[in-house]
Amino acid sequence: MPQYTLNVNGTEHTVEALPDMPLLWALRDMVGLTGTKFGCGIGACGACTVILDGKEQRSCQMSIADVGSSKIRTIDGLPGDGSHPVQQAWLELDVPQCGYCQAGQIMSAVALLERNPHPTDADIDRAFGDHICRCGTYPRIREAIHAAAKVTQ
């Protein structure tokens, strides 16, 4: 089986995997980072979102062979004390319900704010159009993104 070296949250992990293994399963099963979640497998729900070279990437839609030397960031790489402004906003506004989709939502929020520090509601609608939260936390997610934007201002 071929070997791949993934740069995840600043650490290199060498794993053996089938070339078409989605990054999602490579992260969860091979690297052992389970913060990134499986939701649909077709890029329709956003639960598996990671940041690849600064951009949101549905990790179920990219094979390990295509990752190359890209830098991958996952929820597991955010501060363990929850001190990132996006985490802070999420905590403050009590966003999660079941919490399962939130890793993807948070990574999308981090990527959005890094490229657009002051997103409008329309920007948020666009960036989160394909993110499903089955618990319906959307209004609090929106509020939290605005709150995090203020902090980073």
Binding site: M1, A17, L18, D20, M21, P22, W25, A26, R28, D29, G32, T34, G35, T36, K37, F38, G39, C40, G41, I42, A44, C45, A47, I75, D76, L78, P79, G80, G82, Q87, W90, L91, E92, D94, V95, P96, Q97, C98, G99, Y100, C101, Q102, A103, I106, D125, F128, G129, D130, H131, I132, C133, R134, C135, G136, T137, Y138, P139, R140, I141, R142
Partner: protein, 685 residues
């Protein structure tokens, strides 16, 4: 560690040996508490409340948290009564064990109403014992001591003691007998205060552990090929191509399907794609949404004879099957050994999983441990244990720990759906436009039931004489289950759309019409929602405002919802909800539940439905079973009215009023009645 075996029936408190002194308080018969053991039942020690020497208070949560926040609200209830320091309170999941924890099935919005009182009593009992311990230590009368924020205080001498320093003495205190005085609501410091959920930090750091995140040494992953059509089963399979995939270890029959077992999830998924299964002939040809609909309509009987001279209005509504689509796809991990088994699962009834697993394996219940994980959504789906049995079966057969994972397609196509149903309503108005009769036929699909009864008297939330209801079922092969708000979520759609139709027929304002017929509880909720929802204010052309009410789960909720219709596209632009949930434990949770319920209702009204063609589910994933998204959910304003002394259930209360409020808003915007869900403006009558 708590030495459970040493705890006797007389001593419900246990001090653990060694350095970590722990005060442990269980559920006991000397305190009259809901769900306490009967004298005849075997006693097993449990630990609902424990305090570590460092002051950490652990509250064992006997129900499953699927996002409804029960881990937080139960902890709040116990912590408030014991005057604990909230920053030192931890929620711990109970394992599946109804002998220790009482029935654990989490559903019917019954956790807080059924067990909340118990948590308050346990907290209050712990407080009495902590005071007793401090008073003894200080040689003072316990009645001269008070408690605050994790400390016992003696004002006269200025002494104070942290709870963590009193664990040994507290454990030696007698257990308070009889009813323990609970706080008056005016004394609450935690209950009723907006409180963030106890699991938030775990979630935002990716450390929250759901069933799907369990990893064990030597664990295999299984994905199961399930029959495409209802009633089919695997006759044989060809796994030649599957065996070529690196990582696949086994291919074997599993129930009516075939399991592909691998060392990692991707190999299992890929293996299933390469698998060639010969399925038994499809016995469900012709079993399709249209045929189910015809069956349902054919099962309606003549409506009751309306009062002479009254004006009669009739309408029929139809709702499709509905999948649960929990965000975390179903999964379970089992490690079955010769004499014992361990299961890790996010289930709504871990005690039921334990019983089922014991019975499946022929083991005593004591030999089965069910570790309850966080649930990535439940909505009723995780109340059914079908997905655990496969993992247990495979682990036993393969002699290794096995995780069974469902893909989203498995989930959408093999659910226990909310039943498809039609509702036939008839109302009669007298010459003043007042309803004088009401009949409601609710006819649903059911794989195990056919036929129906006659009309029965039925109280509805509106004062209408001669209100009757009839329940009936038609047999279809589609398996059904409970779906958040269960029958109310369906029946209330008929009730609240039809009361709107009666109002229109009577030439009355839908809000005023409801108000005249409503009981006192509902009146208050309706008045508040009309006020906050801007009822009566003008809207631009193409927009409409709808109202709907629901009373149940020891509470009431009403929605005012605005929609904007552009062409055939319906967008919900505003949602206001008013809730009377009795004693509100956590306003943040109540708001979150109503927000989530509103999201559900929007999906139910506008986008989501499961359809069948020749016994095969048409939809398969989130691309065609469309749920909600950021741009389809408006800001949801939630107003919580001051309620009575007892809490109501919040998990489902907000759902039933949403879809009818939307349908009524669509009527206000377009003049077209939306009687079939999801609402499609094209082709509507």
């Amino acid at each position: 560690m708590i030495a459970e075996a040493e705890v006797t029936r007389r001593s419900f408190l246990k001090l653990a040996g060694g350095a970590g002194a722990v005060f442990v308080l269980g559920s006991f018969t000397s305190i009259a508490c809901a769900g306490s053991h009967s004298e005849a039942a075997p006693f097993e020690p449990n630990a609902f409340v424990s305090i570590d020497r460092d002051g950490t208070v652990s509250i064992t949560i006997c129900k499953s948290d699927m996002g409804q926040g029960v881990r937080t609200s139960f902890a709040m209830m116990a912590a408030d009564e014991m005057d604990a320091d909230w920053s030192k309170v931890k929620a711990v999941n109970a394992t599946g064990n109804d002998r220790l924890y009482g029935g654990q099935m989490t559903g019917g919005s019954s956790s807080t109403t059924g067990s909340g009182y118990k948590y308050r009593q346990l907290g209050a009992a712990a407080r009495v014992m902590l005071i007793g311990a401090a008073a003894q230590k200080w040689g003072v009368d316990p009645s001269t001591c008070t408690t605050s924020n994790g400390q016992v205080l003696h004002a006269a001498s200025g002494r104070s003691a942290d709870y963590g320093s009193l664990t040994a003495e507290a454990a030696a205190q007698p257990i308070p007998s009889g009813q323990i005085a609970l706080k008056d609501p005016s004394q609450f410091k935690i209950i009723g205060k907006p409180t963030n959920r106890v699991d938030n930090l775990l979630v935002v750091t990716g450390k929250a552990q759901y069933g799907i995140d369990v990893r064990l040494d030597g664990m295999l992953i299984a994905v199961i090929a399930r029959p495409p059509a209802l009633g089919q089963f695997a006759q044989s399979f060809d796994d030649t191509e599957v065996r070529k995939i690196d990582g696949v270890t086994e291919v074997l029959k599993c129930g009516v399907g075939v399991a592909v077992v691998a060392k990692n999830t991707w190999a299992a998924i890929k293996g299933r794609e390469a698998l060639k299964v010969t399925w038994s002939p499809n016995p469900s040809v012709g079993q399709s949404t249209n045929s189910f609909s015809s069956q349902l309509h054919a099962a309606a009987i003549a409506n009751p004879e309306p009062p002479a001279g009254a004006r009669v209005i009739e309408a029929t509504y139809e709702m499709p099957y509905l999948a649960h689509v929990t965000m975390e796809p179903l999964n379970a991990v089992a490690d079955v050994r010769a004499d014992r088994a361990t299961v890790w699962v996010g289930a709504q009834g871990p005690d039921g999983v334990r019983k089922a697993t014991a019975s499946q394996l022929g083991l005593p219940e004591d030999a089965v441990t069910v570790n309850l994980m966080l649930l990535g959504g439940g909505f009723g789906r995780r109340a059914i244990n079908d997905f655990t049995a496969d993992a247990v079966n495979l682990s036993k057969g393969l002699g290794a720990p096995v995780k069974v994972i469902w893909t989203r397609e498995d989930d959408v196509r093999h659910d226990f759906y909310r039943p498809m149903n039609i509702q036939v309503l008839q109302g009669a108005l007298d010459t003043t436009g007042t309803p004088v009769a009401w009949s409601h036929q609710f006819i649903q699909t059911d794989p195990g039931r056919d036929g129906g009864g006659d009309f029965q008297g039925r109280r509805i939330s509106y004062n209408i004489p001669d209100a009757v209801m009839r329940h009936a079922a038609v047999r279809t092969p589609v398996q059904i289950g409970q779906w958040r708000s269960v029958e109310f979520g369906m029946e209330n759609f008929g009730v609240e759309c039809f009361i709107d139709e009666l109002a229109h027929a009577a030439g009355a304002d839908p809000y005023e019409f409801r108000l005249k017929l409503a009981n006192d509880t509902c009146k208050r909720v309706l008045q508040a929602v009309a006020e906050h929802g801007g009822w009566g204010q003008k809207l631009p052309a193409g927009s409409g405002r709808g109202i709907a009410l629901f009373q149940g789960y020891s509470g009431a909720c009403a929605h005012v919802i605005e929609v904007k219709v552009v062409g055939k596209k319906i967008k919900v632009t505003k949602a206001v909800a008013v809730v009377d949930c009795g004693l509100c434990i956590n306003p943040k949770t109540v708001e979150a539940q109503i927000m989530g319920a509103t999201s559900d209702g929007i999906a139910i009204a506008l986008t989501a439905g499961i359809h069948h063609k020749d016994g095969v589910v048409v939809e398969s994933n989130f691309d065609d079973f469309v749920w909600t998204a950021m741009n389809t959910i408006p800001k949801v304003e939630v107003i919580i009215l001051p309620g009575g002394p007892n809490p109501g259930g919040m998990g489902e209360l907000g759902v039933p009023s949403v879809a009818p409020a939307i349908a009524n808003a669509v009527f206000a915007a377009t003049g077209q009645r939306a009687r079939k869900l999801p609402i499609v403006l094209d082709g509507m009558v």
